[in-house]
Symmetry: C2
Subunit: 327 residues, 2 copies
C-alpha cells in the first residue's frame, strides 16, 4: 500500500503511532499542502524507516506517485477540496476531522465520493479507539446498561499557545467542529442512531486573545431513536492539569450507567460499581489500513463520516444563529 501524506496541521501522529506494526505500508511522498514546513513530518517518516519524496504541490505528487491512499492533514479549510482531489483520482482517503468546514464543501465531498467505487474515506476519529472509550462502547453494545437513554460527553482542552489558523473562523472552522467532533462522534456511536435535532451555543468572549476561537460551547441533541444527548466543549482546562484533555462520556441506560473519565471505563449496574477491564485494539490508522487492504471492515464508514461532519456543521449553525435545527 503506497501512502502519501498531505499537511502537518492535525493528527498525522496516528500514522506514526501504528505504522511500525502494519505490513506493506510505504510512505512514498509528502507535501505540506500549503507553505507549511514539512521538515518535522519528514523526520517522522525517516524515523519510521521511510524516505518519501517531498513535493511542494500535492496534486503533482498524487499524479506522479499514484498512491493507493492519502493522509489529508493540511489547512482545515482545504480538507474538503483535497478529499475531492484524491477521490477523483481513485485514492483512498484518511482525513483529519472535520472533513469539511461548510455544508456546501461537505456536499461536494459526498458527491465526489458517490462517483467512486471501492474507494474508502474515513476521518480521524481516533478517540473512539482509545482503550477506555472502546471498552465502554463494547460493554454498551454487549447490553451492560440495557437500553441507552441519556448521554453526556465532555471535551475540555488546555488553550495553550495556538497557531494563527485557530484564530479565524475561515481557517479554524469553530470549536464545535474541531474539538466537538469527538464528542459528537461518541454521541453518534454510543447512541447507535442518527441525529434528529440540535440546539447549541458557543462564545468567543474571554478567549485569551485567540481571535474567533470559541472558548466554550455546548450542544444538545435528540437522536432519531429517542436517545437524549448533550456535549460541552471548552478550552478552559488549566495549564497545570496532568493531561491535555479532560475527555469524558457518561451513558445512562435502563440497566446501569457506564462512564469514561480519567482514562478509565466505569460501570455501575445491579451488581455495583467497578472498572471494566480495558480492551486493547488497533487504533484508527490501523483500522483504516486493514479496511483498505481488505482484511476487515473499519468501524467508521464514509457515510458515518458524512453524518458526523454534517452534525458538527449544523450544531455550529445552531450556535451561530441561536436557533433549534432539525436534521
Amino acid at each position: 500500500m503506497k501512502l502519501c501524506i498531505i499537511g502537518v496541521r492535525g493528527h498525522h501522529g496516528y500514522v506514526f503511532a501504528e505504522i511500525g506494526s502494519l505490513a506493506d505500508v510505504d510512505i512514498i511522498g509528502i507535501s505540506g499542502g500549503c507553505s507549511d514546513d514539512v521538515s518535522g513530518l519528514l523526520g517522522l517518516c525517516n524515523a519510521a524507516g521511510a524516505a518519501p519524496a517531498v513535493y511542494e504541490n500535492h496534486l503533482t505528487m498524487l499524479d506522479l506517485l499514484r498512491p493507493d491512499a492519502v493522509v489529508i492533514n493540511g489547512p482545515f479549510a482545504l480538507h474538503a477540496q483535497t478529499c475531492i482531489e484524491a477521490l477523483e483520482r481513485g485514492i483512498h482517503v484518511f482525513c483529519e476531522k472535520p472533513i469539511a468546514l461548510t455544508l456546501s464543501d461537505l456536499s461536494r465531498v459526498e458527491a465526489a465520493y458517490s462517483k467512486t467505487a471501492g474507494i474508502f474515506l474515513m476521518s480521524m476519529v481516533g478517540l473512539r479507539y482509545e482503550p477506555c472509550f472502546m471498552t465502554a462502547w463494547k460493554a454498551v453494545k454487549a447490553g451492560a446498561i440495557g437500553k441507552v437513554k441519556l448521554i453526556h460527553a465532555q471535551k475540555s482542552y488546555k488553550v495553550g499557545t495556538r497557531p494563527d489558523h485557530y484564530k479565524s473562523r475561515e481557517t479554524y472552522g469553530g470549536t464545535i467542529p474541531w474539538v466537538g467532533s469527538h464528542a459528537l462522534d461518541w454521541i453518534y456511536w454510543f447512541s447507535g442512531s442518527e441525529f434528529e435535532s440540535v440546539m447549541a451555543s458557543h462564545t468567543m468572549e474571554d478567549n485569551f486573545g485567540n481571535g474567533d476561537l470559541e472558548i466554550a460551547s455546548q450542544c444538545q441533541f435528540l437522536m432519531k431513536n429517542g436517545v437524549q444527548a448533550s456535549a460541552s466543549m471548552d478550552y478552559l482546562r488549566p495549564a497545570s492539569a496532568p493531561t491535555h484533555g479532560d475527555d469524558r462520556v457518561r451513558v445512562a441506560g435502563t440497566k446501569g450507567v457506564i462512564e469514561v473519565m480519567g482514562g478509565k471505563a466505569m460501570l455501575i449496574d445491579e451488581e455495583g460499581e467497578r472498572e471494566i477491564p480495558p480492551v486493547h485494539n488497533p487504533g484508527v490508522f490501523a483500522d483504516f489500513v486493514r479496511h483498505v487492504q481488505g482484511h476487515s471492515k473499519a468501524l467508521v464508514s464514509a457515510e458515518d463520516t458524512f453524518i458526523l461532519t454534517r452534525a458538527c456543521l449544523l450544531a455550529r449553525e445552531s450556535a451561530d444563529t441561536g436557533q433549534l435545527i432539525r436534521f
Copy 2:
C-alpha cells in the same frame, strides 16, 4: 416562633435535622394537607420534644393557631394554593420545591406575595447547603476560577418504588420541576445570573411502569450574563449504588474549573488539582428560621424562588413542546 407543618410528601426532614439546634422554634400544629397519614410526622415531632395539635383541615389549623411560619410539604399540586393561603394570613412560608406546578399557579403565588409586607417565602433548595456545594460556590464567589463560562449539572436518582402521586403529571409535575429544580438552582446560583433561554427534552419511555414519570431529561440554558449551562436529570441510578443520588456540578471559568462530585468539591487551577477543604454551615431550614427571626438574611430570596420555579416550568414546557423558549 410558632411553626405549623402541612403535609408529609417532601423534605420535612430538613426541619427535624436542625430544629434541635435552633432557639425558640415550637411546632404547635400539623396537618396532612390531604388524607395522608400524619402519624410518622407526629412521631418526628414528639422525638424532637414537640407535642403539636393535629388537624384534619390545615386552614382550620392556621386560623386557630395563628403560627408565625408554616412548612408546606403536602401534595405537590397544592403547594401553590397552600402558599397563597399562608401568605394571605401573614404567615412566613417554607415550602417544598417547586412551589407551583403551573405558570398560572406561580403567578397567583407571586401576586399573593406582592401584597404582603415583611413576610418571607423560601423553597426547600436544601442541596445548596450541602457542604460540598456550598464550599464550591464560596470558592467560585471568591474568584477561584475567574469568570464563570460554562456549567454542567447532573442529577441521577434511583427510581425505587414510587408512591402513585409520582405517576401522573397532574400530581407529580414532572421530572424537570421535581428533580431538576436542584440542578437548575445550582445553575442559577453558580452563574449569578437570571435565565435567558432554555431548550429541553424528556421522555416517559422505559420508565419501569411509573406512568407519566419522565425517566430521563436534559436542559440547556443561556444565562443573561452569557454563561452557558446544561443539566441532565435521570432516574437511572442502579439500586446497588452507594447513595440515592449522583449529584454533580462542574463550573468552568477563565482561571480554573471547580467540580462537585461524590460529595467533594475539587478545584483545578494554575496551581494544580486539589480538594477544597469543606466549609460547614447551617442548612436550609436554619437559614429560613434565622431570616424570619431577623438574625441574618437568607441565601435565597422569595424572588429567587419565583425565578427558579419559572425556569423549571418553562424548561418543562420546552421539553413538552420541543421548542426553544426565551424567558
